[in-house]
Symmetry: C2
Subunit: 358 residues, 2 copies
Amino acid sequence: MAKEKKSALKEKKGVSISEITNKSTIKAIKKKRRSEINTDALVTSILNGDITALSRAITLVESKNPTHLEKANTIIKACLPHANKSVRIGITGVPGVGKSTFIETFGKHITSKGKRIAVLAIDPSSSLTKGSILGDKTRMEDLVKDANAYIRPSASGDSLGGVARKTRETIILCEAAGFDVIIIETVGVGQSETTVHSMVDFFLLLKLAGAGDELQGIKRGIIEMADAIAINKADGDNLKPAKLAKVEFNRALHLYPEKSSSWQPKVTICSALNDEGIDSIWRIILDYAETTTKNGYFNKKRNEQNKFWLIQTIEEQLKSAFFNRPKIKKELSKQLLLIETNKTTPFAAADYLMGLKT
Amino acid sequence: MAKEKKSALKEKKGVSISEITNKSTIKAIKKKRRSEINTDALVTSILNGDITALSRAITLVESKNPTHLEKANTIIKACLPHANKSVRIGITGVPGVGKSTFIETFGKHITSKGKRIAVLAIDPSSSLTKGSILGDKTRMEDLVKDANAYIRPSASGDSLGGVARKTRETIILCEAAGFDVIIIETVGVGQSETTVHSMVDFFLLLKLAGAGDELQGIKRGIIEMADAIAINKADGDNLKPAKLAKVEFNRALHLYPEKSSSWQPKVTICSALNDEGIDSIWRIILDYAETTTKNGYFNKKRNEQNKFWLIQTIEEQLKSAFFNRPKIKKELSKQLLLIETNKTTPFAAADYLMGLKT
């Protein structure tokens, strides 16, 4: 019954349902009406900061139904002039580094400053498992209850590119809904960091002191992308090793060439659990935003990211259109066999496949 | 006159040129005949190990003339059944590490074992400068004179992909000409290592002891690709630091996950200048070839490389065909402007561009 009250189809009091009305007809009408989303009203609500409207719009963005996608595009277009006004922060770190606790403490800190924060996630595994790293919302109990915080589980999709598109569009919707800070979380494994890096202004790497973790980071080139490294769990017995790790990372970072932002990446320690060192991270981010806005890098980077996503999207679509052609699928496996048996070269095979008419 | 003797048009002795023969006509006929390359004869000569024929075929591969390319494809196809029988070794290292000296000493060592070696190069800068890192052949004076060695300056091209294609096809020709060892050299900067790595069986990284060089290598992920690291210039005062660096690299390499080849990368020291430690590098390579042939990885890797190049070539061609369409060029810049002024998203712009009819 509670659900029925929320429905746009709820009956006015005093109007009783005619006895001849077929129940399945009612169901069909409800279904039809539900799909007729009023995009104008939704946009107005989003711009008023209505979380329910925001959630509905994000669901449209994530839908695979073509009608929904069309509506989503209309909404995004209307929201665009009101977007672009937040600081977008990417947060990564290996499992166990304490990302959830960090985001909870950090998020509470942001809202205590009177700002609104949205937390999204990119989950490389979600495209396989259809799961979500933020699915388990109980991990951020306090932040979930905060009226100025919005937590949205990660979009699922068939490809990282698809997930990225949905996340990028969700950022626009959140910004239009008045969120000042957007956090994009990702698990520090695989190539999702690069994806996150290409859609945020500031990239924060969470680390733990000791135990080969340093090498792991260096190896994957993640340290190069970081605008700041925060060594988390710097409490109790961990405090001393964390301080040592800070010195070590600072030294390592100085060996890298200067970034085009002319921003020198910062290293800091924190304990999200004890709410220590969180404010200094926020001040680093504010400093970064101020510095790069002044030198023009902030907007330059966003423009480059947009261009990157435009080209990236086209390239993905070109590839999938080509390789999904039934004829190509069939001929490709034949050519691969010819290559294996040394009867053609990869290049001759490519020329042959490219020459096939639709 | 010397040139005329080599020409296929040389007159039999005793036959004098008719006085009415127009000199420009002779020139035109010569030019025409010269372009009519007999591919069958060329293939036969290549299979007989004829270096001149090999060089002519490589020139055809590198040519931008469509007629030449067609002939090149015919030749490569005929050579294919005779290729695939060498060990392909990629060698990289930062400028100053002593690559030329190393290749010269290493090459002499190979030929002293009765084997034939071909040295090719991939030069990321050549696509810009049309230059070549092996252009300065005088750097390998002794090897150049060796009848069992063949040194070919790097192919130039408009893109790394184009250069890579030419190099891959040149490898096939060299193998058909009976070369047992193919070296692909590249300067240790940029992404050319990845390209070289995707076309060789064994990847050798040359290093120097000390001075931040380690970090540089780790940062670029090159160490991960290496099947062996040779610390060069391990002579005189450098010997001790080189030995220390060897210990350090060995420790670092053990932290990486096991390779799918189940080959544990080796670290060794050498002095190419004094011809020290060169044989042990050759023995490492032989050991690698034997181990990976036995466990099936050697052929599996070549198959994967072929597949990679097939897909890579198609993707490059799809992209260039799309982005070079005049209409797309024009509309792309318009869409970029709309993105910059926040009037569309990269994704909506991509959809629009993809929807444009030819």
